[in-house]
Amino acid sequence: MTFVDRYPNAARVAKANLIVAFAALGIGGLFGTVQALHRTDVFRGFITSVQYYDVLTGHGVLLALVFTTFFLAGIYTWGVTRTLEREPENLTFTWSWFWMMTIGTVMAAVAILGGLVPGSSISAAVLYTFYPPLQGHPLFYIGATLLVVGSWLAGWDWFKSYWSWRAEHPDESIPLQTYMTLFTMLMWYLSSIGIALEMVVLLIPWSLGFVQNIDPILPRTLFWYTGHAIVYFWLLPAYFVWYSILPKLSGGRLFSDALTRIVFIFFLLLSTPIGFHHQYADPEIAIGYKMWAVVATLFIVLPSLITAFTVISSMEHGARQRGGSGYFSWMGALPWNRPAFVGCALAGIMFAAGGFSGIINASLNIDMLIHNTIWVPGHFHLTVGTAVALTFMAVTYWLLPQLTGRELKYNKMALAQPYTWFIGMTLMSNAMHREGLAGVPRRTAEPEYTGFAYEAPFGTMAEMKWQIAIGGVILFVSLVMFFVVIVASWRNGEKSGTIDDYLPPALSGPEQSPKILDNMKLWMGIAILLCILAYTLPLAEMVMDGLFYPGAPPSPV
């Protein structure tokens, strides 16, 4: 008797979301490998350099918007259902948000993939950031908007479940997995306003031709209002796994429920008002806002550092319960032969490295060293590309059996898969960081120029390009391994009545967490205030000189 037996409706919803998530992961991942081979000039036979930008748009949108959002929806549906012990309140509503998100995704995908079809008039090679005046087909903008609005409805669904539960449990603390879900969504509601306004007020009318010229700074600033916080929309579900599931996978229990809540409060408060740190090199943001951004961004490192301690101590608890000892050798007692554990642990290790390069990016002037170089993708392939993606893949090994009632198949391949990912990403990302220090740009089909040569600060250009290409291929192999395991397990895994779905309570539990941590209205109120303080003036200045002025004409791609 496991989750799918107790909550068959929620299980179906979770599975549907995972199917779309994994479809996006597969196509997006394939595109990434094509890119790695193309831009390193190891193999340019799959696509032309012009098509590279269609492929890159697909890679970014499918992985960083679609895979992430749908996986979040799947795992949060599971977490809310099991901790509140209730199926979704209204299944029609639930399926409606799923289909809205899916139809939006298909529309955007058609627009992007249309660019690869010779002779097609539909294309959207605008990249994941879609900065105007570069202009894609309206289907792209409308589709992406439907995906975002659908995610709002998904959050509403979880709040509805919470309110029904709350009516029956007036004095209890919010169960931790539901707490993390609700706080993620509060953060997302506040932060996605930027991109929603950008789409609905500016880009959709403009792409449909109601407006000709467009002033790029307002859409760009609205994008980055959302664009930093969105990385926490990706990261918080991974933290959800590391806080509520990884301790058990390690053989232990979560060290502190209270600190988990505090960390999520930090992210609610600070994720959005720091978006200017993506615009350090821009002329339109005054230095005062950039100064605020660097201080506040460096403060948001704190909840991640706290997470490191709480999660590692929970793993240490498991290691010592398994008989481990010493200052460092306890790590050897962890279950390095269990796929779900290994993926999460390696993801965490990689996040430690990605955190460092992120701290560099945040630091105002040193950002000039690496802004828009390939160092930046080097950074985010460690964070969203591994900490998030590998955690999602790894937890699926533990979660899928609960959704299907079938045990995992090909356990050896499942175990090898995260190690393979780790090796591939180590090769690719370290080379991306070093190439970035040499000045090699990101987002380009051919980084070799005719008039000058790069000077590599560590290593040689040749060895770095080969590491990117080989790393990219190894990542693809890892992805294939993941799909083999998941497809086989989903369809042919052995049916079992004893699926492991047990999660022990925290060592220091919610009874010891101050009630004020559960006061969503208080924290949301402060979060809204911080956003108003950070963004009202700069946005007002941009709007006041004309919503679309000074404007440049559209540049269709």
Binding site: Y53, L134, S256, L259, I287, H371, N372, F452, P550, P553
Partner: protein
């Protein structure tokens, strides 16, 4: 609320670390003069009428003793000046750049240096730099700007003061 003693130590260490980072950044900014573009109040310009501004004659002008200004236009898919003919500048002089675009977002990165700026239609990107030694610097557009983005490059050639003369200056009186 139970926070273990060790975790309290760690939070203290983390806050100290964050303070170090902020301190280092501010020191670099204020004392070592390591700055970012756009410190001066931002200036807008109409991308459709650049021909009525200084950007109509892109290039270098001398504005003081050892001080120069460069007006540069970044467009799909070249830098004016910089592409085709290198932009020649004197060593040791203070050079202030004004950069804009008539079409889409571009980037300007001098490979191997800390000169890094976004170029935005409707805005003038301003920054000052000094080339202490002669040499050559590749100009890269690193903000995706369309299908031939990867071909957009230029070159800055820094020559000894003695070699820099009026042939490299724009005659703004014309």
């Amino acid at each position: 609320m139970h926070i273990h003693r060790f975790e309290k130590i760690w939070i203290g260490l983390s806050l100290f670390l964050i303070a170090c980072f902020i301190g280092i950044v501010m020191y670099g900014f204020a004392v070592l003069d390591l700055k970012v573009p756009g410190i001066e109040e931002s200036e807008t310009v109409d991308p459709l009428t650049l021909h009525e501004t200084e950007f109509a004659m892109p290039g270098t002008r001398q504005v003081g003793d050892n001080k120069y200004e460069v007006y540069m236009v970044a467009r799909q898919f070249l830098f004016m000046p910089g592409t085709g003919q290198p932009l020649v500048l004197p060593e040791g002089a203070e050079v202030k750049f004004h950069v804009t675009s008539p079409d889409v977002l571009h980037g300007l990165h001098l490979a191997g240096t800390n000169v890094n700026v976004t170029v935005v239609p409707g805005q003038v990107s301003k920054f000052t730099t000094r080339f202490s030694e002669p040499g050559e610097y590749g100009m890269i557009c690193h903000e995706y700007c369309g299908p031939a983005h990867h071909t957009m490059e230029g070159l800055i050639k820094v020559v000894p003061k003695s070699e820099f003369d009026s042939q490299y200056l724009v005659d703004a009186s014309r």
